[in-house]
Amino acid sequence: MKNRLAGSTHAANRLTVWQRIVRDRWLYVLVLPGVLYYFIFKLMPMFGIIIAFQKYNPYLGFLNSPWVGFKNFNDFFNNPDFMRLLVNTLWISFLSIVFYFPAPIILALLLNEVRVSWYKRSVQTLVYIPHFLSWVIAYSIFYMLLTTDGGLVNLLIEKFGGEKIAFLSDKSWFRPLVIIQSIWKETGWGTIIFLAALASVDVEQYEAAVVDGAGRLRQLWHITLPAIKSTIIILLILRMGSVLNTGFEQIYLMSNSINRSVSQVFDTYVYQVGITQGSFSFATAVNLFKSIIGIILVYSTNFIAKKAGEATIF
């Protein structure tokens, strides 16, 4: 009994490893289902990546399928799909970083200027809602509003004497719609982390600034923005890491045979080639390429931030 107590006070050195494992047996019972989960559904797929270097045959399995080296990667880079996917993916990421990334920051700053707390809370209540709806619901709502077949937006356009716009099938509307949808769905939710950082700012700083004659813009520049700077940088580092991840569901739901040339991105391509066409090895190679670029980007952005003396994640 004495030993068990010692365990929780970090003085377990006198016990052998085996004695400690026996002592903590119930903890191992508790951890087992979770460990099994991570082993089966996280670790095994990581080993499964080896099929990117094979010509995978379901009957032969992971271990016995013939090895082909970097053939799948070569095929992919020499495939005309590659450039198209890269351009489409980078376009969406670029637009998303320029328009969608700053949106929660701006909204949080605006909310921070609201002094009437019930008003602030009410707005927050409203703007968080879309986050909890699925992409299917979000897309369906957009669909019902934008369809040329009796959608609200097109009815309004017609009412004011305009021409119907085929938002959902017109290629040139695909990218703007993806960004608008993301902004609508996630901006409110994205403010939480910034508002928390802003809540920790000492009110005395603002009071001192007022005494020194600083206007609201100068308060924003010298007190408010520095308070959220490190949060912004950390989120930007993480965002850079997912430049090639556009998210699957939203894009998949929005894509159709008409806008395919602009809507197909790495994530939907992996699904299409892998799951629907069964080219498992090829699709895994595409996905691995994407993941490795992501890791390189995260580490290099992190490195640059560190060099610049900013907050980092590693």
Partner: protein
Amino acid sequence: MQNNTVLSRIFDVCNYVFLLLYGLLCFFPFLYIVSASFADSAEIISRSIFLVPHNPTVAAYEYIISSPVLPRSLLVSIGVTFAGTVISMAVTMSMAYAVSKTYLVGRKIIMGFVTFTLVFSGGMIPTFLVVKMLGLIDHFAALILPVCVNTFNLIVIKNFFQRLPTELEDAARIDGCNDMRIFVNIVLPLSMPVIATFTLMYAVGYWNDYFNSLIYLNNTKKWPLQIMLRQIVMFSQGGIDEASVDEAYVKPPAQSIKMAVIVFGTLPILAVYPFLQKHFAKGVLLGSVKG
């Protein structure tokens, strides 16, 4: 700290108005869908903006309830959400408790790998192949087991357990309780807010899931609501849609039927939203304090 210059006043007014408009913009589309679901199609076409339909009718809902397709997928969704949430909570909470004990042998390896999964994963295809090897294709278990533990949730709950005072646990240990009993009888009752938060988070996740049904379920009879919903909403688009659905053929629905289906998919979320809102912000922030 208020500056009462004219410019500052003007900014405040604009800001309040803008925030109100933006807030309404987040909610209006849904309000429109709800009210349109009670309208007859003629009305949807003739009057563009309305929040209260002139001739409210529940025909759309009657149609949905009487068709075999939607009640079935509603049941599937409810079942998967319930079972999934229970399993996820059980596995996540107990694992989090065990790894919150810094003296546990092997904890570093487990947490090292868990954290690694945040930056790197096997990806869609290898995970699919593992699920396939386990024979889970077309089983409801495929909607639950591959996403059973959410790593962010696990880390947040682990951090919560680590901050709990240990005196009670130590006292129980002197009284001869084993770790299992301590976890169930002492730690869990202390964790009710955390249990509420993450139960809701998992439930919303399972209810909203689309991806797993898409890749793991070929049998349309087993489709949950989200994937069925997309099929129904998109149906009149005919040729544009990729996945054809012959077995679960739905009579081409009118606008209001589609709207009503969307309401079905959203209602449970909005019903728990007040509870969600009370807890989620805390959940998000707990995690960001210390990773």
